[in-house]
Each structure stands twice: as C-alpha cells, then as structure tokens.
C-alpha cells in the first residue's frame, strides 16, 4: 500500500496539514503517516498523533534533510507540508516547503494555514492548469487516470497570456470550437472540462479555482525554482490561497509509482 506522508510542525499548521493528508490518503486509498522533526519544545509523539489522528514518527536533525530522508525512504504517493506556520507569518511560504519542492521526487501538496481541505468531507474537484506543453499534459493525464476512479472531477484550465497567446483566430464561430477541441485532444484526459482564461496566469488560475469550487490546484512543474523559471510555481507558493499540489514533470518518479 502506498503512503501519504505529512510533514508536521507542532504549531497551528498541524491541523490543516493533517486534515489534508487524511483527505488525500482517503482519495488514493493510501496509508497516512506523519513525520515530525524534533526540536527543543517539541511535544511527545503521542500528543502529535492525537492531533494528527494518524501515526507520527519523530526524527532528528536538520529539518529539510530529515524530512527528505524520511519521505524518500518510503513508498510515498504524495507528501504533504504546510505552507507556513501561521496565517500571519511574515514570510509567505517557509523555506521548508520551498526546499522540499525542489528535492522530493514525489508530488508535494503545500497546504496554506487557513485551508479547509478535508474539512467538509472528501476531495471533490481538482483544477489542473495546462500550459500546452507535452510534459504538463502527460503528467496531468497520469494524475487524472489515478484520481478519476475515486470520483474526482478534474477541471482543466488554460490561460492565454503574453507567453501563451493564440496567434490566429480567423472566425470565432468556427475557430474557437476547433481550437478547444484540439487543445483538449492534445492536452487533457478524456471527458475533461476546459476553462480558458486570459490575463496574469496565476491570478487567472486562482480565480478559476474559486469559481469552479476546486479543493486544490495541481501544478505540474520541472522542479527548478531558479530565477526566470517556474514563474507560476513561485507565484503559487508565494501566498497560496488553496492547497497546491506540485506534480513533478518529466521522468522522475510520480505518484503511486515505485522508485
């Protein structure tokens, strides 16, 4: 059985992260466990487990190193981490999720402190932004194949902006339909709904997510946060409003697969 691993702090971020991890685990039919990197003042394991409502192991050492070791060593479908400790924290997203996002080979769900994911029952709807690249499309298709049997509705969105414009549209009454049909055929899994937006990419994605009442946003990315790359991911992590599932593209290991 694959696992969902939650990286748990002991502050107020624990509950939303644990709740999200339980919801994702239920969705995948996976076991859920927690990892806590001990520091001075850390509560005992039992206290953490009571709050998390699943088993938690305590590990020692540098936070990121210890979490990477703990997560990479297991058969992990998805890792779950809090975006930051408190809703009013001075930094938008902590260094731990940022570093984990680049180092983990499995998908990483980043949960904002005010997230309600899992609060009202199971995950019902995911928003998958598609940028029109084969890597994004392939990763998104794999995810859809995995979650569809659980009854999850997947809404795809594509944002037309300066870097992803439509170059030609001869007659709207004919071209829009032709374009939409071909975009879906190329990039989306069968029977996926497509919501096309324009403007600033992340703003449009977030607006779309709220309008379609998505529980989380799935962002496929190359796992490189260097300057000039992964603009959407950096914006997504800057101040996440909804949980963001970072899905590595390319040949690295994906959700539910063995090493």
């Amino acid at each position: 059985m694959t696992r969902v691993v939650a990286a748990l702090d002991h502050d107020t971020s624990l509950e939303p992260v644990a709740r999200a991890a339980r919801a994702i685990a239920a969705l995948l039919g996976a076991e859920v466990i927690g990892v806590h990197v001990a520091e001075p003042g850390s509560p005992p394991r039992a206290a953490l487990e009571r709050r998390a409502r699943f088993p938690v192991s305590r590990v020692e050492g540098d936070t990121v190193e210890a979490l990477v070791t703990a997560i990479e060593g297991a058969d992990v479908a998805i890792a779950v981490v809090g975006a930051r400790s408190r809703p009013d924290a001075p930094r938008p997203t902590g260094h731990v999720p940022l570093e984990l996002s680049e180092r983990l080979t499995c998908p990483l769900l980043v949960v904002p402190p005010h997230s309600t994911l899992g609060e009202r029952g199971r995950v019902r709807r995911m928003l998958v932004p598609l940028d029109g690249t084969p890597q994004t499309s392939a990763a998104a298709r794999r995810l859809v194949r995995q979650v569809r049997p659980a009854g999850i509705e997947v809404v795809a969105t594509h944002v037309l902006d300066d870097s992803h414009p439509l170059h030609f549209a001869d007659a709207p009454q004919h071209d829009y339909d032709a374009w939409r049909r071909e975009f879906l055929a190329r990039h989306a899994a069968p029977d996926t709904e497509l919501d096309v937006r324009r403007g600033d990419t992340w703003t449009a994605i977030e607006a779309c997510a709220h309008e379609v009442a998505a529980d989380l946003i799935v962002v496929v990315w190359s796992q490189r946060l260097a300057s000039g790359r992964a603009v959407v991911v950096r914006e997504a992590l800057a101040n996440p409003d909804l949980p963001v599932l970072l899905l590595p593209a390319g040949t690295r290991r994906h959700a539910g697969r063995g090493p």
């Binding site: 007659a171 709207p172 004919h174 339909d177 919501d195 324009r198």
Partner: protein, 835 residues
C-alpha cells in the same frame, strides 16, 4: 519538440527500388559478346514479356550520341529528349534506371553498368515488384517531398490534415491505416452537406462524411505513429515502417476523380484488410451491403449523398502480406444512389489496375504542375512550402460543373465546409492563372446561387443580389448568429449581417477570372449577371447625405475587430469598382439594363466617400478610426497575435488594432484604383497597427511589402503564411488546412515578388526580388497562352507557348512563342535583341 517537415536528402532503396522507365544504351563501349541482332531479338522478347504481363515499364533504347552540351559532360540529345518526355509524364529522373554507360545523367537516375544481360535482370526485378504488388519504394526528390516523422503525438491530427489526398472532388484525410484512438479519419465530397444539430455553429450545415476506405488491420494495435512522405509532384502519400512494420502508398486519382487506391505491405501476421469500407457514425443515414462481391456503402443527408464501392485483395508471399484496395466514390443530390448508379460504381473498380492508375496519376499531376510550378532559386525551404500550398489548392478544386470551396477545403471538419470570401479572393486567382476551368467552376458555384442572393437582397429590402458571408448548399446565409467565446461566454456573431463586402468580392472574382482568361462566354453570361445584380444591390444599399456624398453605412470590413462601422475604405472602394465595372458592362451590352441605370451607378460611384485624405496621403480605415485609442500592437507585442482573444473583444473594438489587411487589402485587390503613392503611406500607418490575427493576413502583407521593396519584412510574412499549416501556427490545422492562406502564398510570390499580374488585356510583369533570391519562376497561362516567367535581378526571361501581350517597365511588349529576354539597365528593362 515541433516536428516540422523539412528538406532532407533522399534515401536509396537498393534492390527493391521501383522504376518506371529504363534507358538502355544499345552499343556499349568495349567488348560485348552479344551481337546487335541478338540484342535486338532479346529486346523484342523483353517488350513482349512486358506487354503480356501488362507491365507499365518503359524501356527506351538510346544510342551513344554526342553530348548536347558544349563541354561534353552532359548526356546526348536523345537521352535529354527521352528524360524530358518522361518528365512530361511525371516520371522524373529518380524513377529512371540507366543500363550501360550513359554520361551526364542526373544524380537520382539508378545506374547499372552492363549490357543486355543487366537490362534483362533489372527488368526482371521490376516485373517481380509488380507481380508481387509491392509498395513502390522510390527515391524522393527533396524539392517535392514533405517528410513527416510521425513521432509527435501532439501533431497526429495535424499530420492527417497535411497528408490529405484529394482528387478535386473527394478528400480523404491522411489518417494512418490503423485509425486508432485520437485519430480523425474523414472522407468528404465537394459540395455535399448535412444539416446541423444543436445551437450556434452546430446548427448550421456541415460537410457530410462519406464512407471511410483507408482502414486496415495493423499490429501492434496500440501504436498509431509512422513516418510518412507526401510526394507533391504526383499526389502520392507514402508510409514507411516505423512503430509498426507497415509500408503503404495511397492516392486519390487526379486523372479519374472518384477513383482511389491503397496498397500496403508488412511481414505476415502484422497486416490484414479489415472491412473494405467503414461507415462514419455522424452521417444521418448510412448503409452498407454487397453488390457483385463488392462492398458498397452510402452516407446520406436531406440534401445529398456519398457512395463508395471498394474491393480488397490480400496476398501473402515471401514472408510478406500485401493488401491492395481499389475504391470508387460518387456523390449526388437527392436521397441516395439508384441501383444503376451503384452498379456503375462497382463497375468502375474493374479497371484500370494499380500500375496504370499510378502512371495516370503521375501524368495528371505533371500536367497540372507544368502550368503551375513555382521555383525559387535561393530559398529551398520557402519553395517547398509554397509547393505544398499549391499542391493542396490543385487537389481541392474541381473543374467540372461547380466547386464549393470551403475554408478548409476537403481536408477537415472545421468551418463545416462553409464557403467564404476565402474562395473568391484568395483561392480563385491561383486557379484563374493556372487552371481556368477550376476557377470557372468556383464562379459557377456563385452564379448557380444568384437567385438565392437576389432573394437575400429582397428580404433586406434592397434590389439586386446580396451574397452570403457564409454559404453552403443552397446559397442562403449560414453564418451562425452566436458562438461561445473561449472563456465560455456567449457572443454575438455579426459578420453574417454586416460583412457585406463579400458581394463585391464575388463580382471581383469574376472580373479577375476574366482578366486572366478573357472568357467571352462568361463575360456575356453569368459574369455579367453577377456584375449587374451586385451593382444594383449597392445602388440600393448606399445612402446619400445632405451634401450629396454617398456612404455605405453599418458594415464590417476585412478587419473584423471593428464593426459595424460606417464607410469602410475597403468596402467603399470595392463598391465603387463594382458599380463602375457594371456601368461599363452595361454600356457595352445594354441587354436587360433599365435606361438610366448605368448612369446612376456611375454617379453613385463618383460620389462615394473613399476615406482618402490628400493631406496625409493615406486612407482612414473607416469613419472615426483615427479617433480610436492609438496602439501600435506590432511594436508592443509579438505578432501574429489574436489580439481579440488575448486582450478582449471590447478592448480591440475601441483601439486602433487591426486584425488583418483592410485598407491594405484595397491596395492588394485594386492596385490601380488607389491614389499613386498611397501604398507606402498606408503601409507605414497600418502595418504597426496590425496584429495579423487572421491567417489571411501574412500572405497579403508579404505581397504588398514586396511591392514596396521592404524585402526583409516581406520574406518574414511569406514564411509565416507558407508554414501556417506545416508548423500548425494556428493550433487548429488539425481541423483542416487553411486554404485561403495557401492562396495568399501564391499571390505573394506571383503578384508580390514576381510582379506578374493582369492589367487589362496585358500581363504586367514587374519583379521585386530580395537579395537572397537569385531567381523566381512562375508558370501560368494568360489568355490561353502558357507562360513561364523567370525573373532575376538583372534578367527577365519569358518562355511563351504562343503570342502574349505584356507590359514590362511601363511599355507594351508583344511576344511570340519561344523565349524572350529582358535585361535591366539602370532600373529599366530592355528587350534583348534576337540575334
């Protein structure tokens, strides 16, 4: 990774190479143990054997004559003549084998040293290939071949569009034989529609899908990918072994529209015939049965039907399975084919055989290219892309009865087969210049629907005839009223109501055809009817203000980002031209013209506002355009850009952002109707404001920029236009090929760069070549005289098959059959004296 077709080196195929002709040098140098009489006897025997097997393999005996060229390096005159004769039949050097030492042969010729023994051995190989019904393996000429790797699944349906094979009446998308998941197989017939279902565009007529004939059983089943080659010179689509070990060739017979053939081969166990024909689910009525052992299938709608008969033969030998399928297609009006038609359809399959169909196909395409080829010395990539465009234009438009040329031709479902101004203004000029019967068939589509246009005018409270913006079977307007925006909002479509320049465009198409052909019967008959009734419409449609100035209010011009607007410069100029042409026609032949009518047309034409401002030297696109927010989109964004999609329809409507050539389209269609010098001013003003969000825009701008001598910009625009489908620049080529863009490519090269265009009864030639082009050759037929215009920077050569009246450097030049040369001295062309 974009898997774009590119020019590549040919690959030889060794012993299985297919040849259509063998040159045999009967008197090889050196010792030959076989006497002349014995060689003659063996040649006769070989000829009889070929004839007995009905093998279409030409054996041409040549003597060791002196080389034709002065240097002695070229082949002898007899060989040159033989190769030329073969080329006229579509048999190029790559399909020729040479036995014996024949000097100076071009590289693709397969050389075989030796004598009569070798000839017999080579012929035996060719006999075997034909008896075994092998898929021809040929050396492909890179200047005439589109190579597609098939490795990019994103491009699967795009490549199906690119690989459409059509015979001018029926089009078959280039779907791979296994037509698995994600493919979009389609067979359509010119002018056959079915009713739409649903709302918006879905409610309008669409192309009726016909029986599918290219499906085969291929293993492994889950791999739908293969390298393919589209031979533009002969309309053959080859598949090479890739993921599946299948080799195939298919074509739709240009020589016999309605006949098609598919031949495939693969190792035993990997290939089967499957059903001869498959019925598309979307057809409202469909049926299949057997007649005389042949599968016959029909699809039908309320207005027409498509029927197909197909017969497959499967044979296995030498560890190889071969499938050969012959197909006959026919379409018609009414409920469906009667029994006699079905029997005749089945009878069409009895002959000819594959080699004969192949030979006819090569010859038919050679005849069309003889009058249509464009060659560009100095730009092989553009040359190939241009030929690709011309290939599909040729294959799409029939020359019999009438041709309904939809925006995507016969290559896909998009645009539902609707006929726009794309046909009249963008596609027709190429055909008027290279194959007038096809242009005439396009005009017949319009004049057969003149009554519908008259009714549309009457329904709008006007006189004359008003042609529809989108047209299908019956000539009524089928433009959808509503569409769904990309963001899901419902939007109103106004083009059907307001894009009225189509009425003048139809008249222009007839006049342009006459410029090229001087077809007196058309001029006296349907051409005149259309011209007069469109003028009547405009006379009824235009209004006058209190000062007497005439206006055409509430229209949409070619720039669909704005409208309805008043006094669109393009529309008004087309109307003025339409009125004057009609007045001129009425003066020459007053039949059916009410006294005073022609004078009223002339007066209206004289009073129409043009939008031209002498102080600026340019046109205002429509009343109030200059007051809109000034945005130089081409300087602030990467164009081409669908600005209305990215920035919103409301935003583009209030800004000086243009979708496509509008004022500049006026310069393109009516270059003699604009004030001298205004092209430069209008280019300077409107080009920075143009987003080129229409696929119709880059080609027209390429033409105008070439005329203006702005070659870098012209070439950039030409490259975009020529590769719109090859590189899927629209992201919609999966739905079919952009035929109007293809037509614009021809116009850019012929009218823009080569500067070849009718001017009244003369053909004006005024080339403008970029430095990177050494020479451009354009072939055409002007008023019945086939011409080849070879334009270089300093020399202009015209090879004529008869007399022609030209205008070169502003002066009249009458030339006769043969080659006439002009040289440029100090920017003036001088006729070179004949020695």
């Amino acid at each position: 990774v974009t898997d774009s077709p590119t020019t590549q080196e040919p690959r030889p195929h060794g012993a299985d190479r297919w040849l259509e002709a063998l040159l045999f040098r009967a008197d090889p140098p050196g010792e030959d143990p076989v006497s002349s009489s014995a060689i003659d006897a063996r040649l006769r025997a070989l000829g009889e054997a070929l004839e007995a097997d009905a093998i279409a393999l030409q054996v041409i005996v040549v003597a060791a004559t002196r080389p034709r060229t002065a240097g002695g390096a070229g082949p002898g005159a007899q060989v040159v003549d033989a190769l030329a004769a073969l080329a006229a039949e579509g048999i190029g050097p790559s399909l020729v084998g040479a036995i014996g030492e024949i000097p100076g042969l071009p590289e693709p010729v397969a050389r075989h040293p030796g004598g009569i023994d070798v000839l017999e051995a080579v012929a035996e190989v060719q006999l075997r290939l034909r008896r075994q019904r092998r898929v021809p393996q040929i050396v492909h000429d890179p200047a005439w071949t589109i190579r597609l790797s098939g490795i990019d699944p994103m491009r699967m349906r795009v490549e199906e569009s690119l690989c459409t094979v059509a015979d001018t009446r029926f089009g078959t998308r280039g779907t791979l034989e296994e037509d698995g998941a994600g493919t979009d197989p389609l067979v359509v017939a010119d002018g056959r529609y079915m009713d739409g279902l649903g709302s918006g565009a879905d409610a309008t007529p669409t192309l009726l899908p016909g029986p599918l004939w290219t499906g085969l059983e291929v293993k492994p089943e889950h791999l739908v990918s293969a390298p393919r080659l589209l031979d533009l010179s002969s309309g053959l689509l080859f598949r090479e072994p890739g993921a599946a070990p299948v080799r195939s060739v298919r074509f739709a017979s240009l020589a016999r529209p309605g006949r098609a053939v598919l031949r495939a081969e693969a190792p035993i166990g990997t290939l089967g015939a499957d059903a001869d024909l498959q019925l598309p689910d979307e057809a409202p009525r469909r049926a299949a049965d057997r007649l005389d052992g042949t599968t016959v299938a029909t699809t039908a709608s309320t207005s027409g039907w498509i029927a197909a008969a197909a017969r497959s033969e499967v044979a296995s030998a030498d560890a190889r399975t071969v499938v050969e399928r012959h197909v006959a297609l026919v379409s018609g009006d009414g409920p469906g084919p009667d029994e006699r038609t079905r029997e005749r359809l089945v009878g069409l399959l009895d002959e000819p055989d594959f080699p004969t169909l192949l030979r006819e196909q090569r010859a038919a395409w050679a005849r069309r290219w003889e009058r249509a080829t464009i060659s560009i010395d100095g730009d092989a990539d553009v040359e190939l892309a241009v030929r690709f465009a011309l290939f599909h234009l040729i294959a799409t438009v029939g020359d019999d009865h009438e041709a309904a040329v939809g925006a995507r031709g016969l290559s896909g479902r998009a645009y539902r087969g609707h006929v726009f101004w794309d046909a009249d203004v963008f596609v027709l000029p190429f055909l008027a210049a290279t194959h007038p019967p096809a242009a005439r068939a396009m005009l017949a589509y319009r004049d057969h629907r003149l009554d519908a246009a008259r009714k549309a005018a009457a329904a709008a409270g006007h006189a004359g005839a008003r042609f529809p913006w989108e047209s299908a079977h019956d000539g009524t307007d089928v433009t959808p009223d509503l569409a769904t925006d990309l963001d899901g909002r419902e939007i109103e479509i106004l083009t059907g109501r307001y894009q009225e320049h189509i009425t003048a465009d139809v008249a222009w198409a007839g006049a342009h055809y006459l410029d090229w052909t001087d077809d007196a019967a058309f001029a006296r008959g349907p051409g005149r009817d259309v011209l007069l009734d469109t003028a009547r419409y405009w006379h009824s449609r235009a209004t006058r203000d209190e000062h007497g100035a005439a206006h055409v209010l509430e229209v949409i011009g070619p720039d669909e980002y704005h409208g309805p607007i008043d006094d669109n410069a393009f529309t008004n100029a087309m109307v003025r031209w339409n009125l004057r042409q009609a007045a001129s026609a009425a003066a020459a032949d007053p039949r059916g013209v009410v006294p005073g009518e022609a004078e009223a047309w002339t007066a209206l034409a004289d009073d129409l506002v043009t939008g031209f401002d002498p102080t600026t030297g340019r046109h205002e696109q429509f009343t109030g355009f200059d007051l809109l927010e000034e945005i130089l989109i081409a300087e602030s964004a990467a164009v081409p850009l669908a600005a209305d999609v990215l920035l919103g329809r409301e935003w583009t409507a209030q800004a000086q952002v243009i979708k496509q050539a509008d004022v500049l389209m006026l310069h393109h269609l009516l270059p003699d109707e604009v004030p001298p010098g205004s092209l430069d001013a209008d280019l300077d003003h409107y080009l920075p404001r143009t987003a080129h969000g229409s696929s119709l825009s880059p080609g027209i701008h390429a033409s105008l920029l070439a005329r203006a001598g702005r070659f870098d910009e012209a070439l950039a625009m030409l490259r975009i236009a020529a590769r719109i489908d090859l590189d899927d620049l629209t992201d919609t080529a999966a739905g079919g090929l952009h035929l109007a863009a293809m037509g614009s490519v021809w116009q850019a090269v012929a009218y823009g760069f080569a500067g070849v265009r009718p001017a009244g009864a003369r053909l004006r030639i005024d080339p403008r070549l970029p430095d990177t082009w050494r020479e451009v050759e354009v072939r055409m037929s002007f008023r019945g005289t086939p011409l080849r215009v070879r334009a270089g920077h300093e020399r202009l050569r015209i090879l004529a098959a008869g007399d022609a009246d030209l205008e070169i450097g502003g002066s009249h030049q009458r030339i006769g059959a043969g080659e006439t040369t002009f040289t440029r001295v100090h920017d003036r062309w001088s006729r070179k004296a004949v020695p």
